[in-house]
């Protein structure tokens, strides 16, 4: 260490001569448990909406996923003889977000495999909370969707709705593709209102844009997430689908329909913004949100799957180290030719 400092001609005082002051130090009292508890509070509107629309199915899936996630984490800490980490509620948050991403008809074993995959394969095997490169809930949803295409795409209409068919709003797009009139009908104001309130088919927690928006604003009020991520993601989807809709009205409905349907809202506010798996800098957050938005639109409009938010989040998670390296904060006096900047780019200075 000292050698490197000498090499870079940085003069630091001798370690012994540093003045260590006594308290009071400024501290905001945040801990993992408190942050996770705040996230849980912000998830409450979405949870309430899911129970309102899907009744007992939602309760069942929420209880299964939350308890399986907690058991998986507790079992892992027991097996590896670590201190128990379930007290920080992070497993509970993962369980609730995963549950909100499952279809109402999900059987118990789907919840079990999803929870074990999220906690053990995605989180603990990479070193536990703070070390996971992928968002556990998003990666588990992707694994379930690719692994169990059948049960993961059996949608049911909400219990309180007048909707008869079980198709999701995004499935409906593929059904009527090619007809500009049908697309315009999908984008009609009363249809959009239904999407906004959540009275449509879909995963239990993703249907109500309103409830997620309330929770997302709560997250921003608590300053737990970077507002740049949801903003960049939703704005990119708006612009992208807007352009495609204007160019080919029969291919896809208008931008508002895309933003309010499927997992865009829950993905933008609760999954993409995971502190561990999103970029550090504000500029990086903008790039990250933009990448997710573009990928989502491409998968939705031209892909084989009707929905692509979880895939996009996982792909963008993999890009986060590169985004961080690209969007680091330039120090004062930075110049593109300076040696230290190149070193940062090469990953030498951490």
């Amino acid at each position: 260490m000292s050698e490197e400092i000498e090499k870079n001609n940085i003069a630091l005082p001798e370690p012994g001569s540093l003045v260590l002051s006594t308290s009071p130090h400024v501290q905001d009292g945040d801990s993992i448990a408190r942050i996770m508890a705040k996230v849980l509070i912000c998830l409450l509107p979405a949870v309430a909406a899911s129970i309102w629309f899907f009744r007992f199915d939602a309760v069942r899936i929420l209880v299964y996923c939350a308890s399986f996630c907690i058991f998986a984490e507790y079992g892992w800490t027991l097996a590896t003889r670590q201190a128990a980490t379930i007290g920080d509620y992070s497993a509970l948050v993962t369980g609730v977000i995963l549950a909100l991403n499952l279809p109402p008809g999900a059987p118990w074993w789907l919840c079990l495999i999803g929870s074990v995959f999220a906690i053990i394969v995605v989180k603990e095997l990479f070193g536990g909370l703070g070390q996971n490169p992928f968002n556990p809930a998003a990666a588990a949803r992707v694994a379930l969707l690719v692994g169990f295409a059948g049960p993961m795409t059996q949608w049911a209409a909400p219990a309180t709705g007048s909707l008869v068919s079980g198709a999701t709003p995004l499935g409906a797009i593929h059904a009527v593709q090619g007809s500009a009139d049908a697309m315009a009908q999908l984008g009609a104001p009363d249809n959009l209102m239904k999407l906004f309130l959540g009275n449509v088919g879909g995963s239990i927690g993703e249907t109500s844009a309103l409830a997620i928006l309330i929770g997302g604003l709560g997250l921003m009020a608590f300053r737990l997430i970077k507002w740049q991520i949801p903003l960049a993601m939703i704005a990119t989807i708006f612009v992208f689908t807007g352009i495609v809709h204007l160019a080919a009205p029969g291919l896809t409905p208008g931008p508002l329909y895309h933003i309010l349907s499927g997992g865009v809202m829950i993905g933008a506010f609760f999954m993409a913004t995971d502190m561990v798996t999103s970029p550090i800098t504000p500029l990086g957050a903008l790039v990250f949100g933009g990448v997710i938005g573009v990928l989502t639109c491409i998968i939705r409009i031209w892909g084989a799957y009707p929905e692509g938010v979880s895939f996009s989040i996982v792909i963008a998670n993999a890009l986060v180290p590169l985004i961080d390296r690209m969007c680091y904060i330039r120090p004062f006096g930075w110049h593109s030719h300076s040696v230290s900047a190149l070193n940062i780019r090469r990953g030498e200075i951490k």
């Binding site: 394969v121 692994g147 030498e348």
Partner: protein, 228 residues
């Protein structure tokens, strides 16, 4: 080392897949079901044993500078033999293995054993080494194939097990293979660590197999990687 030890080391101590981490392409591609894995493993065993035998015989005749092409020619001969044999006597297995059968020529295990063992050791030892390595490879492929086949289709060697019919399709595809192989490698390291701990020594994974050389996460803080 005795001949028997040369034979048994391929199963555990120097298992080509689990310890040497060689031949990943056929391991991941042909372990999606147990029968496929068994066919691939046996074909590779035959090639390994034959090429080890011939290379150990000609090891003093081959000039050092052109030894690799010579080995490849020998290996390719055996691969052609096994390919024609399978086409004649096991056409179904030949069909399912497809391109991966001729690709045994470039399998790192075969060339690796030729270079690392057969070119330095006698006839019997080389044959035992080839057979052991081949059977170790087969063993891993069949184990991996059984797990993946069961999870993805609920069958073992094509026979339905009647207890799991919800096909976890991802396990039959490449990602599932990677995840399971990773878990098995981790489990093997765990066992080796336990064994070392009992013997009172600290287990160190081979330097190139752990993630200390990678600079993305901060596991490497002890010795920062210096690139000029």
């Amino acid at each position: 080392m005795s001949i028997f030890k040369e034979f048994t080391k391929g199963f555990w101590k120097e298992n080509p897949v689990l310890v040497l981490v060689l031949g990943m392409c056929p391991t991941l591609a042909t372990s999606s079901d147990a029968v496929k894995g068994l066919a691939m493993g046996l074909a590779t065993t035959f090639v390994l044993m034959g090429s080890n035998l011939v290379i150990s015989v000609i090891r003093k005749l081959v000039p050092g500078k052109i030894r690799i092409p010579c080995y490849i020619v020998v290996i390719a001969t055996f691969v052609t033999v096994v390919k024609l044999l399978m086409q004649a006597f096991a056409p179904e297995a030949y069909q399912t293995l497809g391109i991966f059968l001729p690709l045994i020529v470039v399998n790192c295990i075969v060339l690796g054993r030729a270079e690392a063992f057969a070119s330095k050791n006698g006839l019997l030892a080389s044959a035992a080494d080839g057979l052991g390595m081949g059977l170790g490879f087969t063993f891993v492929l069949v184990c991996l194939g059984c797990i993946r086949e069961f999870l993805a289709a609920g069958t073992l060697f094509g026979i339905s097990m009647q207890c799991w019919d919800n096909g976890f399709a991802i396990m039959g595809q490449a990602p599932g293979g990677f995840i399971l192989l990773g878990l098995i490698l981790a489990g093997m390291n765990l066992l080796n660590m336990r064994k070392a701990k009992k013997a009172g020594i600290k287990y160190e994974p081979p330097a190139e197999f752990d993630c200390r050389h990678c600079s993305i996460c901060k596991l490497s803080t002890e010795e920062p990687v210096k690139t000029k």
